[in-house]
Amino acid sequence: MSTMTLQEPARRFEELLGHGAVITDPVRLRTYECDGLTHHRVMPGIVVLPESAEQIAAVVRVCNEYGLPFVARGAGTGLSGGALPRADGVLIVTSKMRRILSVDAANRRAVVEPGVTNLAITEAVRDLGYYYAPDPSSQQVCTIGGNVAENSGGAHCLKYGFTVNHVLALEIVTPDGDIVELSDGDPGYDLLGAFIGSEGTLGIATKVTVRLTRAPETVTTLLAAFKDIEQGGQAVSAVIGGGIVPAAIEMMDALAIEAAEAAVACAYPEGAGAVLIVELDGPAEEVAHQFGEVTRICEESGAFELRIADDPAERAAIWRGRKSAFAAVGRISPAYIVQDGVVPRTTLPEVLASIDRLSREHGIRVANVFHAGDGNLHPLVLFDDAEPGAGERAEIVSGKILDLCIEHGGSITGEHGVGVDKSRYMSRMFSDEDLDTMQLVRCAFDPRALSNPGKIFPTPRLCGEVPGVRKGVHPLVESGQAEHF
């Protein structure tokens, strides 16, 4: 679509939102060309910065009028290109909508606008003895709207669950511009569940009611250093196998430790081939008992140093290395790909050995950081983008890691989403019929495919997304189990 055709909608947006809230200058537009995943870049046609649900609904209705695709974006920290803009469309940025609308401690809930950061919720309720449980590593930056779109997790999701377990209700703008509410109390289909994790393809969240979690009586954090990943992996399996559910259980390998050390001087034990961070929380007695068990297991698995943090400052010191790990690899490598995959916990040592093999075969370094408790791997594939061919080799390694995950009965994403980056791997996990069925859900919300098109699905199919790619009728439609809208 040429820029000419965007002039009229841009003028309409200016009427709706005011001149300052609509960006059409190419220099400014380009600063929005990517999110946290920088190797996919598209300059948006128009950027709008609305300040209310009504404004978003009005923008979406104008998009419908002109048939313009639209993409929602929060802080732009996503790692799968979920907020990659459309050159022929509108980027709807929620970063100005960051009010905490209400805190209801008695009913353990807070209502916030989508641009509020994940950590800001915790900060607002900390003095009341509560916090917001899901904690992506980017929690001080990433927005709750983005968390809802991606069903974000974090280190503590092993015990407490993902975003979907902590959102009680949503106000959304549907792809045709209506404002509707979805609530976990609604009888009938779990539309709230369908919306969370839909990566912006079912509409835009404009108000989020979150569950507040009571801050635990006791928190103990333990850092165990092992000679290698194998020993660390053993300890993880033994802890979970022993019936203990820690709040978090995280592992980093030598290269990831090196990066974190360079970035934040976290002073992890010298000579560690792997460190395990285990956090236990809950009633004091329970934590004390579990702590004894975990310490014993770590020692039996070969831990050569154990550090214990009982106060927030010591705990922060242990976590600092882990939480900064992604961005910290920037210190030891000019460029990198953050991969996100899942494997069954018991296969961890085997999969890690295979990743190591891949890394050596292709001459590409891989640093491993992962939520060991639920088998969610975050291999960081390092390369020098100035070196010809290195980027392609890194892509190959990165792709093969996902193949490994699928082979071992895992998944191509644990928490970063599919976005644009992993859509091509979807067909390795799902059959065409599976994917078409997912499309039917999408079409029920977004029949014109205007809401974040081009994400999740490998090839556009059904309901108007470049018709004609699929020949014939969808099997579900044919069998009378589903119909087109």
């Binding site: 992604f326 961005a327 920037g330």
Partner: protein, 416 residues
Amino acid sequence: MDLELINDCVHCGFCLPSCPTYVLWGEEMDSPRGRIHLMKQHVEGTPMTPEMAGHFDACLGCMACVTACPSGVRYDRLIEQTRAEVEREHVRKPDDRALRAVVFQLFPYPRRLRAMRLPLRLSGGIRRKIIPRLERINPSLAAMADLAPPVSARVRLPHRVEAKGSRRATVGMLTGCVQGEFFPQVNEATARVLAMEGCDVVIPPSQGCCGALSLHSGQEEQAKRFARRTIATFERAGVDTIVVNAAGCGSTMKDYAEILEGEWARRAGAIRTVDLAEYLAELGPAAERHPLPLTVAYHDACHLAHAQGIRSQPRELLSAIPGLELKEISESAICCGSAGTYNLFQPEAARDLGDRKAERVLATGADLLVSANPGCTMQITAAIRRRGAQEIPVAHTAQVLDASLRGLGRVPTIPA
């Protein structure tokens, strides 16, 4: 502009919530990540449009993003290089040019600044009348009049202050431009505290500006000239350590070796610049601390906390005073909006940030605000004055220590 430094940014966005303009406006172009993206566009051939220059001008240079960045991006270096590029490439509007000329021909020159004290010696009544009028003509001029503190009596510092008791060290002292002219009491207190802690203090007369103001505004050549002169002045004074009580000056002087080239870089490397709080914490207490029954809110100046990493030392020094209770200001890492000349060139944004800071300072309920940078002191004082009702006296860390060491029982504060 150094492409390698630009490419260190991995676009993670961890800097966004630390950036005052992103906090105010929530727009990518006015965040560190967005500005680095703009720098890259420019290096790759996009001309310096007025829009682009505007986003660079809107950066306070507070360096909070440098603290927040996990990838170690040198945004401080990048924005300095970029500001110089803006000055080279961007043609400013005539009124903006005129204002900048006035500021750069005035502030870095203590003698000219002294001459300005007369017209600024306005009583509260005149000030209230004149500011709204100036606001209509030029918001920057109004900001200038609003910020200037009432003038205190001029103080002539001796060229050397002898250590009390046994001498532990000999140090040079920077008097600064704004500090020296608007807050001479702070310099007096600094010299006294150092002497009471066992230092011979050498104070070279007619030191001139250290170059911070120019460097932070892209006036590269003026900055280098001032830096060379400052080095020569202290070399002549025969000291190898310079104690600085103004955060902005200290952070620039610590960078002299990087800003200058060749012989001058070497000479810069031979002199050590330390902040007053940093130096006193390192030296350890010698003199007796007398009680000060006060609750104190400590304000982190960006050029101390972010640019020099000095956060714990002033807090430790203050907390060590018997009877003194220290309060934390929420959002302490966000700039007050002073940022050198920012409040003169970007008065609206500076005002919003000042109001935000004033609200949080007052919320502490403290008896006294401690600020270790003259710019912050003027900015926060002005913001609190605008609010009317409540007021809170302001003092420099040096003045609080001075009061405790001398057993005054109260802190002689900076008049609002």
